[in-house]
Symmetry: C2
Subunit: 563 residues, 2 copies
């Protein structure tokens, strides 16, 4: 297809754009994925492939969720129906997938830094090609982008930065940076701001119109021979599909089919709103994900106590810490994978000062189709090492609600970690730090399961074991830190089996094993191994990467035979 | 002293400033600490205490190393001689130390976010006081500051941001942001940039002249009743002491007395420079700490392959990843505690893409006098959980050199983690991942020690044990990930003792224990407990917080008696 793009007439390019839109729409409808951002960027991608010579020239997609048209144009059209399926095309750029993908992304704000690094390597090696960073306006709020802009003149290796401005993160883009970007449309003054960073701003192009895009890109290609250029492209998110144009937040990411289970995020929004009615200290914070985290009802009910600070995960953590330092009770809701961005602030600002911030950590465990960069499989480990932090892992949605009700008066840093979807379930009253004995037996085997996925697995194993005349004790280990030391102290000569949907290194199993060292108990841990887990179907990935029911059942049989 | 400041004449204030400078100089000369930044800010701190009413009004010091004058003026002058000593005053703001310290800092770039959070809490609670963020120009490059500026108009809770502009980070401040700040001195254009962020820029004051400072602060105090104000204060780092004024980088932080041991950083600079002469792929990256990391010789020899990107730890990681993606061999040198800031980028950019970046992690373990925010005691844990990463912990400086020589052709992410100072030592040839058997015995006891501090301790214990007719096997566990599986597999019925200067949660001991589960070996781990370690003397803190020779020796005696 690249050659086709090079020689086509504008009319043919428009036809191609239409075909690509249909293909994207069709595929996302069946495979799930990011819709509106990809629909918006079809013409821009075609124009880039016409003007530049990929893969000799290199492009870094910030976040990377908008790379579908690029995949279609770089030899992957025939595989496009496998998008986001296990073993199929990734929904993000992957180096192993194609030489057209030179750098992998997934989290916001990395593209300018990466493009500068690629360009610097080019110059050091004396090579000659163009490097492009394609960045949405939402990412432009992220601190990393400014750290990279600060380096433009220092590094002095020209790149083309394309600002893909559709006025949206997942939610509409907010804050002072967006005002500056908006200001570019009306005033030369903001242009000079970028010039201070060593950039040449070469104006605005209509990102859905080839007659505007092609000359702008040609000009940019010329100018980056001398210095770094910022090309401002205005696109319409969801372009071509009225329902997507009108509801870009709702169509940012689509699930392949209706999710039958209920969402933890709904409970978060409901419970937090109810709590805040009685407790004026409660405030809610998000980094540009109000809806997907379930915070919309809270934001509607308490606009003055609701803070969407844009894609600024670190700032949001410090803001939460400071609000807590002054007596408020901040709830910072965030996806597990994105909290990695605020790791230092969780340590330095929240836990170092032992402040009552509650982290509501959604999308924990395997998230599935978004792949390596989005799995929430490190959090139990990177949080367990932090002093002063309590880590709760609800067994079901009812337990999340109970934990939230206990949180406001807890008075110390608290992380509640849960998956996207699960069951309402039930929950008896419990104290902070207390595990739940779901089945008490005299068996030598004691299974400790953390979180709904692992408890489901444990219940399934228990049923199967009992059908075969075996039995074991089962515990809902709803606190991963601190462990229920009282319960652990009661164990004698037990075979303790731990289950967690987290990497084994530094996770729940390691903590249990450390607590039981020097006792006569043996610990057997199941969780994920030391690899990045690619995209696929969550249940299937869980089995493949460490939570294999057959292996755990085989261990139970073996232990039972011994005991 | 606060009341004195309120009523004094300008002449008296100047006298006070002189006395405070002498006190700071005297104390830092004996206790160590940050000199030039505190000398530079004496008048500004006095003026703040005169114009504002602390602790009702609140001030957040970015980084916090410049808070000595504030401590002197807030009831801590009599304790000032205990600065940075165990049990004495901290060198950073501490809430537990004084109500005048409202928020704790240590890492760069948090002050504006924190001040906004405090101001927002004030407004939500209907209280009335002023909130000040005091930020050096070095921190202004940090992405967090821009994330916070992006929120100024969103949050709409006015604060006073004081830009303390001395043109220096620890090294001179570099990059586009500094050009913008410099531009403020000459042009109204840059002012409007800040206005876009919802700030009112009220000009420049001479930060070492009360006649300029006092009216500027009075004006700011008035204006922040309406909106967030940026006051630009130009100070001279090291002010009042010509040797400090002329050598602000060298006098940024002083050690209390000459360090008798040698520095790992010197070896880094020498070795990397030598390697780079033969290998043109090698580049070095730092986030504003060229000298303290030992990189100066490299920067002198290879300026075009040397990148000081300012206090931008995250950007530096992504830049390193991208350089590696294009075939270069980047060495990113950084303090252990500051690498926490780039945790997500280590996962997402470097290890997720399995790129050959070498992290040279200095100041690992207990750093001592800088306290909680600077201890390098989490790195073995937060790095061990990351797939694709190899973690090396040299036993001495010679081993660091050997590891560096092996690193360029290693071809995958590598973290080498070492303390500030140690001994040259010796080192026989070894392969990546291979431990060193320092003493082989038939004893049941096998001690695995990671890093020079722990090996010193182990050798001391071995000597003592042998003097008492006991003995044990001793291993230099110079790779924490992967473990030397071959060696571990050779162990039968052993009592394995692990030593690490890292928190136990998720660290070396946990990894060894996981590897030995299901064997007939028992693991006993020593390292730091689940607390933040305050400032003090490193050797003393190590004993107190988990590496107590008496306790380990007692275990050896007990195990020996059993075995």
């Amino acid at each position: 297809m690249p050659s086709e793009v090079k020689s086509a007439s504008t009319e043919q390019l428009n036809l191609l754009a239409g075909e690509m839109r249909e293909e994207i729409f069709r595929t996302v409808s069946s495979c799930g994925g990011h819709l509106s951002s990809n629909l918006g960027i079809v013409e821009l991608t075609i124009a880039l492939h016409r003007v530049f010579d990929f893969p000799k020239d290199k492009i870094v997609f910030d976040v990377g969720h908008q790379c579908y048209p690029h995949k279609l144009l770089s030899g992957r059209a025939k595989l496009f129906h496998t998008l986001r399926k296990e073993g199929g095309l990734s929904g993000f750029p992957k180096r192993a997938e194609s030489p057209y993908d030179c750098y992998e992304t997934g989290h916001a704000g990395t593209a300018v830094s990466a493009a500068l690094g690629i360009a610097k390597a080019r110059d050091l090696k004396g090579e000659d090609f163009s490097v492009i960073a394609l960045v949405g306006d939402g990412s432009f709020q992220n601190g990393l982008i400014f750290e990279a802009l600060n380096s433009v003149s220092l590094l002095n290796s020209p790149i083309l930065i394309i600002l893909n401005d559709n006025g949206m993160s997942i939610s509409p883009t907010v804050g002072g940076t967006q005002e500056i970007l908006d200001g570019l449309k009306h005033s030369a003054e903001n242009v000079r701001l970028f010039e201070k960073f060593g950039l040449e701003y070469i104006g605005i192009a209509d990102g859905n119109d080839f007659s505007s895009l092609l000359p702008a890109l040609e000009r940019a290609k010329e100018r980056i021979k001398e210095k770094t250029v910022l090309l401002h492209v205005v696109t319409k998110k969801g372009r071509g599909y009225p329902f997507a144009e009108n509801a870009p937040a709702e169509t940012h990411g689509l699930s392949p089919k209706p999710v039958p289970r209920e969402e933890y995020s709904t409970a978060l929004g409901e419970e937090l709103t109810a709590l805040a009615e009685k407790d004026s200290r409660i405030v809610a914070i998000t980094a540009a994900m109000t809806d997907s985290l379930g915070l919309r009802p809270f934001f509607r009910a308490f606009p003055e106590r609701s803070f969407d600070v844009g894609i600024c995960e670190e700032h949001a953590s410090v803001l939460a810490a400071a609000l807590a330092a002054e007596g408020m009770r901040p709830y910072y809701a965030i996806y597990s994978t994105f909290l990695q961005r605020a790791f230092d602030e969780v340590i330095h600002d929240v836990c170092g000062q032992n402040l009552p911030v509650t982290f509501c950590i959604d999308r924990a465990g395997i998230v599935g189709a978004d792949g390596e960069t989005h799995q929430g499989i490190f959090d139990l480990s990177y949080l367990s090492l932090i002093p002063n932090l309590t880590i709760a892992v609800p067994a079901n949605i009812a337990e999340l609600r109970a934990m939230l009700r206990m949180s406001a008066d807890f008075g110390a840093p608290l992380a509640i970690r849960y998956p996207k979807a699960g069951t309402q379930g039930m929950c008896k009253p419990f104290a902070m730090g207390e595990w739940e004995l779901l089945r008490s037996t005299t068996s030598d085997i004691v299974m400790l399961a953390a979180g709904e996925r692992c408890l489901d697995l444990a219940q399934h194993l228990l049923k199967r074991a009992r059908a075969h005349g075996m039995d074991f004790t089962l515990v809902n280990a709803r606190f991963v830190k601190p462990l229920d030391e009282k319960f652990l102290a009661s164990l004698e000569q037990k075979q303790v089996v731990t289950l967690e949907d987290n990497v084994l290194a530094g996770g729940f199993g390691d903590a249990v094993a450390r607590a039981l060292r020097g006792t006569d108990c043996n610990v057997h841990s199941f969780g994920f191994g030391d690899v990045f887990i690619p995209h696929g179907e969550p249940a299937s990935l869980a089995v493949k990467y460490g939570l294999d029911p057959e292996k755990i059942y085989a261990l139970i049989e073996e232990l039972y035979a011994r005991g």
